[in-house]
């Protein structure tokens, strides 16, 4: 019989910072986006800050009003990615079936495990010894992923909870909120509430037919979920699906309607996207552009262009979209992503001389920037542009770990 462990680090970015700097331990800290302290949000709050009500995604001013003594620490993605890698290295000693769910969360499947509790204790011990004594994780053990994740969320920090079978699962499910289960978000909970369903006990009484009528195929998932049943497979980190889109967004240091400034930022973002596409040997044809105004309202637009991995082509499409949707308000944030991706194959290769030379220029620029650092060689129009710092997607969408 298979056993699934869900391992979730507690207040991950914050505890890694506290591990690095013991002077931060036991204090309320908030990790912010990169080296920016203004116009950013709390990326992660320490256990101590959470006691004051500080939460991830909260604006800095709000965090400071709740906890005036909060210490803000600039986020350092290299530090967190390296810690995750070290932790995955430990897990691969126990099972090859390790799924990276996000930067601080993994599922691990072990076969015929007679002592999952001992295994969990060993993992905790090795994390303490090899990653750091301040870094703790909560482990949930169960017979499928959903129940393991629920078990892991029941006791934090440094918890260890086992949900042994479906009987135990139903006992627990009857005592938690609908949205405490991974797979029931705000919208589904609201729809269930509108049907008069406020608990898993009630959900179990709803006939499958009624759920299918309301939620289509997801009705079956909900039906099974309320009984602690799920047919979920572990997707090992080395078999992770290829990305579906590549994008970047940037919150500007000040609200602006300076089109030259926006043009520079946009070109920089599209160059970053194009380089990542080229690194992954991908091309995309759907360009999505979005902007947020100073009052947090926003617009977005999608355009289809011929398959490309060239920053200028992506820029041209986003610039067109920008002019179509911008209502001359001051802008706070812009973002671009490219989707509808396909692999670069010989059939994509061009025989047109002018396109060929552009490809050679891009390849040469990539070589130089790979050696000397991002934007060491760049378009003249970008000279003097503001620095854009890359932060990892917490879900590590485009990252495969090489251990």
């Amino acid at each position: 019989m298979r056993t699934i462990l869900h391992i979730d680090f507690n207040s991950y970015f914050a505890t890694v910072e506290q591990q690095a700097n013991p002077r931060l331990r036991g204090k309320p800290i908030g990790v912010t986006g990169g080296d920016r302290m203004e116009r950013t949000v709390i990326g992660a709050a320490s256990v101590e800050a959470k006691k004051f009500g500080v939460r991830t995604g909260m604006p800095i001013w709000e965090a400071k009003s709740l906890c005036p003594e909060i210490i803000l620490v600039p986020g350092d993605s290299d530090k967190y990615l390296e810690t995750t890698k070290r932790f995955l290295n430990i897990l691969k000693d126990f099972s090859p079936k390790v799924e990276v769910f996000s930067i601080d969360e993994v599922f691990m499947e072990v076969e015929d495990c007679h002592g999952p509790l001992n295994l969990a204790m060993t993992i905790k011990e090795r994390i303490r010894e090899e990653v750091g004594e301040w870094i703790t994780c909560s482990i949930g053990i169960s017979y499928n992923k959903i129940m393991a994740k629920l078990a892991g969320s029941l006791y934090k920090p440094d918890g260890l909870v086992v949900i042994e079978d479906e009987e135990a699962a139903m006992w627990i499910l009857d005592r938690v909120e609908l949205n405490e289960i991974c797979g029931i978000g705000f919208r589904i909970k609201k729809r269930l509430n509108n049907m008069g369903i406020f608990s898993f006990a009630t959900l179990r009484k709803v006939p499958l037919k009624a759920l299918l009528a309301s939620f289509k195929s997801y009705g079956l998932i909900l039906y099974n979920m309320s009984r602690g049943i799920a047919d979920d497979q572990i997707v090992p980190f080395f078999e992770k699906e290829e990305v579906k889109s590549i994008g970047h967004r940037h919150t500007i240091n000040h609200d602006t309607y300076d089109t030259e400034e926006i043009k520079q930022i946009l070109l920089k973002l599209t160059e970053l996207i194009a380089k990542r596409l080229r690194t992954k040997k991908l091309r995309g044809k759907t360009v999505s552009f979005w902007l947020r105004n100073s009052d947090f309202t926003g617009e977005d637009m999608q355009l289809t262009i011929p398959y490309t991995n060239d920053g200028l082509e992506i820029f041209k499409a986003s610039w067109k979209a920008f002019h179509k949707i911008w209502n001359k308000e001051k802008i706070r944030m812009v973002g671009v992503s490219v989707s509808n991706l396909k692999s670069e194959t010989p059939e994509n290769l061009t025989f047109l001389e002018e396109l060929k030379s552009q490809e050679i220029i891009n390849q040469t620029m990539d070589k130089i920037n790979n050696k000397f650092g991002e934007f060491s060689l760049q378009r003249g129009v970008l000279l003097g542009s503001s620095k854009i710092r890359r932060m990892p997607n917490p879900f590590l969408a485009d990252r495969r770990f090489k251990l």
Binding site: A20, P22, R23, D78, E82, K371, G373
Partner: protein, 80 residues
């Protein structure tokens, strides 16, 4: 925490396949490393840097080793 970027001299020792700073010299002081709390790497182009977050007498320092130039820097500190 104060961020700086000062070249420093570091005495290190090798333990197995790992390199560990033993002490470093900064502002005419010899600062002994009590504990290495965390080691991580970063890249700038093809150049790799090792960052050692360390404790010494209740103070915090972060040392950076540039693998290309084989030079050490003190990049951050927080003292009593």
């Amino acid at each position: 925490m104060l961020s700086i970027q000062e070249p420093i001299n570091v005495w290190v020792f090798f333990k197995g396949s790992l390199i560990q700073p033993w002490c470093f010299f900064w502002k005419a002081r010899q600062i002994k490393v009590d504990k290495v709390n965390l080691v991580h790497t970063s890249k700038d182009g093809s150049n790799t840097f090792y960052h050692f977050s360390i404790s010494s007498g209740g103070n915090f320092y972060r040392l950076k080793f540039d693998t290309n130039k084989l030079k050490w820097f003190l990049e951050a500190l927080e003292e009593e």
